[in-house]
């Protein structure tokens, strides 16, 4: 027995020894702690992986780890989000403690350029990266707004509507239209980023010059913004769950709204206008306003309107009016003046709430990784009934199918709904629309919101012109409206590594979306121009786009030479689809459960279809790197597009760039304060074809109910089909070509405490496409073809400076300054086209595009003061409508009379400088971040003054306080507006002139946040790996000299922007932000 026991023990020992000796031969157990270099606290959940294998563990709540079976020659890779990766050779160590540096813009920082991935060290191109957390800072519905001031060289003009599109321009305005950058999401091109949730984004890269962007060839000229979404990481790991939430509200800033005349002031100034009219015309004064009485001293009546009678003084026959109301409530009004004055801006705005929630699940196994994001954004606009909702699910995954194959997908499904948005191009065009905001200024303050019966009061009361109550229309006509879309977007891909270092990838991506809308407008007879009918409209559309991309990438190292080669092929359709919409009036009832298009009177239905543009492309790229010191990149893309005729269908777009890491040279080694210095230069050609209708090459005829039908048989109902020339074709149009050159450097000083990136660039665009307006003699209904007409030059300097460090051992700070100088000039237009104009606003045509001027420059008479006396009128060159107190224009051409030839360039909406400043401090568990952005040197055309600052424009409607500083002999040239009178001619409200032009420069404090993070230990006791709470204020103040509501004035057409008719302001908001990790 004993022997037996002994033998067993021996065997066990032997076996154990054998096993353990086998174990020792292969590796050993290594343990240690992973902590943050910044705070020395353990990092829970950090990943420790044996390099080149799928073997790995994650750290526990204290940052401790133990990994078995590490060989002495193995390399352990320590990583954690937000920290720089670190590699340690195991050697003989059994305890390895690692302090990870925070992930400041490190040289290893990944740059995702769409088809390939590189890092800052090796990049020779001008690219900018936006941190994922920066995208989350401001509660906008569209992440593109977060690029404002974050990226040197990117201009962002946005307005205050939730979910709105913004004007995003990368390095200037290269063309007369279609200047929006190309957006790539997980490799799939699209034209909008508004479906993306900021919490799902992993990287954002802006490709600014040809050296980076030319790989996108014909669509790259306006820059490329590349987004990748979160993917999880491979390696056996626990599920990581994160929650990011934001709750807050936006303040409409009622005190910042333009001031309007009080009821009594409005009455007084109406009488002043009558006096001025009489003086100008040499006639006796007549005080004829239906409300303000016949005497010189204007008075307010007791009732503005009493069932058809206006300006009632004394009492009214209440019984009779009540009877009239009972008989006909729709058309019987009893309106008392609001003596205190109605603040219409206040009435149409509200404190607007925002809610954003994201749940992220990410994880991996040894051969797969995944990320699932659930997102809700529910945001109200400051305007009543304006809202944006987006619910989306993202599922990204990748799985190894054996050793050489990988299959993956990135998919997002989105429901987005927008209510009450104003302006074309998904809100982008709201600035120059006559929006409800403009209606709010146009309503006189004397009109109350409700009449004595509780109905909406409006301009049924005579003498106030034709504004419509914006409260009524925003309430009645918007509250039941809906517009929403379901969409899916993403790709599936397969990667294979047939031989070492060669990866073949095929990806099929695209998007599909279905939208639906319906709207109700309600009969209302209380406006001076009433809405006489109930009406209903609804419609739908779908869009499908796809892209197929095949690439092969190969990298090889021989000695100190590294070569990466990428070859690819791509085919895509940028979107085909159909739309249908109908409308009609006066259904039996407007009950929401009743109305549809079948039940309305005179239904009108229209539909359309479109095929999109097909692209077929081939591309290649080679990166060569010698000693990690000398870098050369060459790339070439050939694109074919169905947009152009057969003879100009293909374009070839090459680019070359080189970089030299000077700091690695021997002669630099002494300059120890220079940690890293790389000089870069690049040249390349990119294309743009956005600004061309897909049918541009064809001459076409069309049939249109509104344009070409005719009841030839004399029928009383219906009409015969007719055709008209709808398009004049140009088979010879070709790509716009941008030739760009860029010189810059990336420098890091003092071991990362100071970084500087500087780029000097020039982009010359030739063969600019534009729909040159044709002389009317050719038939104005035919769309003019886009022709290659001109050249544009954009040049500038982009600077980024980062300074970070410790103020004390406990207090860290970082300061980032971005700035870009921009100069834009139209160099040349085709012969016979000296210039072309932008659109008009109530007869005012503010914009002219002409060589030697910036795009969309303001053009008009130069106002040199007012006519202060009859003597000045007589002495001045003949000017139509000249009279005392009116605008005096400069005789620019000196011909002794003021004619249209005296109009000249009087401003430009293109900013000379845009920039941003980000300052953050961390002390202990607290962090404070602030963020500013600025526009300098741009002008705004304040068209809203046309409505509020002349008595004669919509005479009787609401007027602004500048009336009180309108011209008088005493004010002279210090007056803020011309003499208060009715006349409308080119010397008053009838011409474009420099009086409308204002400096649009501004500095906005876009974000200030104060956050508190729980200690990791405390958090882990609560079952959390991370917990941070922050409060933030957005748009806390804006410094500007601009007199309108907000200086952020965009527009959806580049040849016509910076015009403020009824721009939606960006106003203050306050939020609470919660970030949790589980």
């Amino acid at each position: 027995m004993k022997l037996k026991l002994y033998l067993r023990s021996l065997l066990f020992t032997f076996l154990a020894a054998a096993i353990s000796s086998v174990g020792f031969a292969q590796g050993k157990s290594v343990s240690g702690t992973v902590s943050g270099a910044d705070d020395d606290l353990g990092i829970p959940g950090a990943s420790v992986v044996v390099k080149g294998t799928t073997k790995g563990v994650i750290t526990d709540v204290d940052g401790n780890f133990t990994i078995q079976s590490a060989g002495t020659s193995d390399v352990l890779v320590f990583s954690f989000v937000g920290y720089s990766e670190q590699e340690v050779i195991v050697g003989n160590q059994s305890v390895i403690n690692v302090a990870l540096a925070t992930d400041a813009a490190s040289l290893d920082e990944i740059i995702v350029t769409g088809y390939s991935v590189t890092n800052r060290k090796e990049s020779t191109a001008a690219v900018s990266i936006v941190k994922a957390k920066d995208l989350q800072a401001v509660p906008s519905g569209n992440i593109e707004q977060q690029l404002a001031g974050r990226v040197a060289g990117v201009t962002v003009i946005t307005n205050g509507q939730p979910g709105t599109n913004s004007t995003i321009r990368v390095r200037g305005f290269g063309a007369f239209g279609g200047n929006q950058p190309l957006i790539i999401v997980d490799g799939v091109p699209t034209n909008t980023s508004n479906f993306l949730s900021p919490d799902d984004i992993e990287t954002t890269t802006v490709l600014k010059d040809a050296a980076a962007a030319s790989i996108y060839g014909a669509r790259a000229a306006n820059g490329v913004i590349v987004y990748t979404t979160k993917k999880g990481r491979k390696g056996k790991r626990a599920l990581e769950v994160s929650y990011n939430g934001m709750f807050g509200f936006t303040d409409p800033n009622v005190n910042g709204a333009p001031e309007m005349l009080t009821p009594q002031e409005q009455a007084d100034y109406t009488h002043i206008a009558y006096e001025n009219n009489a003086a100008a015309n040499g006639t006796p004064v007549q005080y004829t306003h239906p409300q303000y009485g016949p005497n010189q001293q204007a008075t307010l009546p007791d009732y503005l309107h009493a069932n058809g009678v206006n300006g009632v003084r004394g009492s009214v026959d209440m019984a009779a009016i009540q009877a009239a109301y009972d008989a006909n409530p729709d058309n019987t009004f009893l309106i008392k003046p609001n003596l205190a004055g109605t603040n219409w801006y206040d009435e149409i705005t509200r404190m607007a709430s925002i809610n954003r929630h994201n749940l992220g699940f990410s994880g991996g196994t040894e051969n797969s990784r995944y990320y699932v994001g659930l997102n809700i954004q529910d945001q109200n606009g400051i305007i009543v009934n304006n809202s944006f909702k987006r619910y989306n699910v993202r599922v990204n995954s990748e799985t190894d199918l054996g050793k050489r194959f990988r299959f993956g997908e990135n998919m997002q499904f989105t429901y987005a709904a927008i209510q009450g948005q104003q302006g074309g191009s998904n809100g982008q065009g709201s600035a120059d629309d006559e929006s409800q905001l403009l209606q709010a200024y146009r309503m006189p303050t004397v009109i109350p919101v409700y009449d004595e019966f509780g109905s909406f009061a409006s301009t049924k009361a005579a003498g106030f012109n034709n504004p419509r109550s914006p409260v009524r229309s925003l309430t009645n006509d918007v509250q039941n409206d809906q517009g929403y879309a379901f969409s899916g977007f993403g790709n599936v891909y397969l990667e294979v590594d047939p031989i070492k270092n060669l990866t073949l990838r095929t990806s099929l991506g695209g998007g599909i979306s279905n939208n639906y809308y319906y709207g109700y407008n309600y009969k209302y007879l209380g406006d001076s121009e009433p809405q006489a009918s109930n009406s209903f409209n609804e419609g739908a559309g779908f869009n499908v786009q796809w892209v197929l991309t095949n690439t092969a990438s190969y990298k090889v190292n021989f000695g100190q030479n590294k070569l990466k080669v990428l070859l690819g092929q791509e085919a895509l359709n940028d979107g085909r689809g159909r739309n249908i919409g109908g409308s009609g009036i006066n259904p039996f009832t407007m009950d929401l459960d009743y109305v549809n298009l079948t039940l309305v009177q005179s239904p009108v239905v229209n539909s359309s279809l479109y095929s999109g543009v097909n692209f077929s492309s081939y591309f290649g790229k080679a990166d060569y790197n010698l000693k990690d010191k000398y870098f050369v990149t060459a790339l070439l893309r050939r694109d074919g597009a169905s947009r152009f005729g057969a003879n100009n269908r293909f374009g070839v777009f090459p680019a070359f760039s080189a970089g030299w890491r000077v700091s690695d040279e021997e002669f630099m080694k002494d300059l120890s304060f220079i940690t890293d210095l790389k000089i870069r230069g690049g040249w390349g050609i990119m294309g743009n074809s956005n600004n061309v209708n897909p049918a541009n090459q064809y001459s076409l005829y069309a049939q249109s109910p509104g344009r070409s039908l005719y009841p030839i048989a004399g029928q009383a109902s219906g009409a015969n089909a007719g055709y008209y020339k709808s398009r004049i074709g140009n088979p010879n149009a070709k790509w716009e070509t941008s030739e760009t050159s860029n010189i810059g450097f990336d420098a890091t000083f003092a071991s990362g405490r100071l970084e500087a990136v500087l780029d000097v660039w020039r982009k010359d665009t030739r063969d600019l496409l534009y729909q040159v307006p044709l002389a009317a003699v050719l038939g104005p209904n035919a769309s003019a073809p886009s022709v290659n007409v001109g050249k544009m030059r954009n040049q500038g300097i982009d600077i980024q400076i980062i300074n970070r460090g410790n103020l004390t051992s406990k207090i860290k700070y970082n300061l980032t300054v971005n700035g870009s100088f921009l100069q834009n000039e139209i160099v040349e237009l085709a012969p016979g086209i000296p210039f072309f104009n932008g659109g008009g606003y109530r007869g005012i045509n503010p914009v002219r595009n002409q060589p030697e001027q910036a795009i969309s420059s303001f053009f008009g008479y130069k106002m040199i003061g007012y006519f202060n006396s009859q003597g000045e009128v007589d002495a001045h060159p003949a000017q139509q409508g000249a009279a005392i107190g009116r605008f005096k224009y400069e005789d620019v051409n000196g011909d002794g009379e003021i004619t249209p030839d005296d109009r000249t360039f009087i401003g430009s909406p293109v900013p000379k400088f845009t920039g941003g400043l980000n300052f953050g401090i961390e002390f202990g568990n607290w962090d404070v971040n602030s963020y500013f952005n600025t526009f300098l040197g741009n002008d705004i055309w304040n068209q809203s003054k046309w409505f509020t600052d002349f008595h004669g424009t919509f005479e009787g409607a609401g007027k602004g306080v500048r009336a009180k500083e309108s011209w008088t002999p005493a004010l002279g040239n210090n007056a803020l507006a011309p003499i208060w009178e009715s006349a409308a001619n080119i010397s008053t409200s009838g011409a474009e002139n420099s009086w409308y032009v204002e400096d649009g420069s501004y500095l906005r404090m876009q974000n200030l946040s104060v956050g508190y993070s729980l200690d990791n230990r405390l958090a882990s006791k609560l079952g959390l790996s991370k917990a941070r709470i922050a409060v933030s204020g957005n748009n806390l103040f804006t410094l500007t000299g601009y007199s309108g509501l907000d200086p952020g004035v965009g527009g959806d057409v580049d040849t016509n922007f910076g015009i403020d008719v009824g721009n939606f302001p960006v106003t203050r908001s306050f939020n609470v932000v919660l970030n949790l990790g589980f």
């Binding site: 009219n277 015309n281 007549q286 004829t288 239906p290 009678v309 054996g402 012109n465 073949l504 095929t506 809405q531 009918s533 085919a571 005179s602 479109y610 095929s611 999109g612 097909n614 081939y618 169905s642 897909p694 001459s699 076409l700 005829y701 109910p705 509104g706 344009r707 070409s708 039908l709 005719y710 009841p711 030839i712 009383a716 109902s717 219906g718 009409a719 015969n720 007719g722 055709y723 008209y724 004049i728 044709l774 009317a776 003699v777 038939g779 104005p780 209904n781 000296p834 008009g840 109530r842 007869g843 004669g952 424009t953 919509f954 009787g956 409308a984 001619n985 080119i986 409200s989 011409a991």
Partner: protein
Amino acid sequence: MKKNNIKKGVLTVLAVTMLTFSCKDSFLEVLPTGSLGEAQLLSPSGLEGTLIGAYSMLNGKGFGRNAGPNNWMGDVLGGISNKGTDAGDYTAMNPIQRYEGDPTSGEFNAMWSSKFEGISRANAAIRLAKQSEQISEGTRTRIVAEARVLRGHFYFDLKRMFNSAPYFDETVVDADIPEIPNSPDILGSIEADFKFGMDNLSETSPDAGRVNKWAAAAYLGKAYVFDGKYAEAKAIFDQVIANGQTTNGKKYDLVPNFGQIFNAENDNHEEAVWAVQSSNNTGSVNNANWFDDLNYPYNTGMNGPGNCCGFNQPTFTLVNQFRTKDGLPLLDGSFNSGDNVVVNDYQVEASSAFTEDTGELDPRLDHTVGRRGIPYLDWQEHPGKAWIRDQTYAGPYSPKKFVYYKTQENTFTDGSSWTRGYATMNVPIIRFADVLLLAAEAEIQAGSMDNAMALINRVRTRAANSIINEYDGSGPAANYKITNYTSFDSKDDAMKALKFERLLELAQEGHRFSDLVRWGDAATFINGVYLPFDSQFLVTKLGGANFTTGKNEYVPIPQSQLDIQPALTQNPGY
């Protein structure tokens, strides 16, 4: 094995996709959607549709109110109408009604552009018809002839408002068209187009809206009158009056009651030599009288038409001209003085008492002008100030000729847009009364005053039969008194009577300003009669306004066209 399959699969996919997209050129041929190529229009139905497209521009659709076939601007400049409404509404018209229109005004550009859209469509129809091998010679000739009359019409409109325009026909290629200079000398070409129509068109057609032989002839006569070729005009008019018939086969005659000329239910009547057709339920109000949607009394509620917006208000001077003495108009020009001035409710509240004018009046006044106390079609008596937006700005009157009846709402109106006021009565281009008066003018200038008087009296006889009665049948709504002329003492007297008759008969139909200009009367009438009287009341609108001789006879060539078409020359004075 499994891996091998995957590998094969991948390679196959790659190969197939590469082949698919690299080898097919057709991938880059994407055809346009929802449109037609020119070749498709060479078929018989394509050609007919192209011609319909040209007809479609007769109502100026899509180019703004001054492109409408009622030639609103012609009546505003002619002292017939003012803009109406109030000072701040549609301010682009304010300088125009004060004879201060600037070349940069979009109103002139809209008018100009609409006419050239029509010309362009007419030329396309002619060019395609000449090219097509799929139609008979007869059809070809008809299409060409109809299109040429349309082209002549659009050029005639340009001639009467702008005076000067670049003339080109269908043979000029697009590239050369902008190079053609403008010239006032285009009536010859216009006459040739009308002559071709007269010589080649049939008398009738199943389609009442088509221009026929007699419409072309009448228009040719009109062009001759404008051209001062009175003898040629008389010869043509003699035929038209004797033998003319409408396209739907009605012998030309005057509609018995003046008011029925402008009733949609009576469209394509015997007086409609050529009219712009109008209809509803077409998918767009542009095929109804879209240009008139604001030309109704203001603030009527459901008790009146349109319920918006009070544009196109008749002037004081116009109304006073309907005053008669012994049944004849006040040819001595005394209509604006003393008791001749028609009593109106200017500055009188709708709720205050008002005594209507009791003097003698031409009954056409109350078919042309809405005024207080007079039945407003079948709606109600015009309530005066309650239906006027701002009397002190635009006077006390409302337009009436092209207003629909209460009983016609939604049957003869198009209710598919934002106002109720899309009427569908046809708008005359030429009506028989116009022909009779033009013939009378030709007679006076080139022939017999007796013939002229007979023609004028024919028009007046119908007017005398067009009394408006009170709703309760108690008798005429006003003291109507109209008689025929018995003699003209001189050619001058005859012309005076003729001119007055055109005003009374055709007011608010867009003819007045070009008549004044061609007679050389514009400055005398506007500065001497119209402005001095009306500006007493409408101070804001007209105070200090003045017609400049040698300039304001024609509107300016639009600056935006001059800017892009250097071949054009601006009219004198601008």
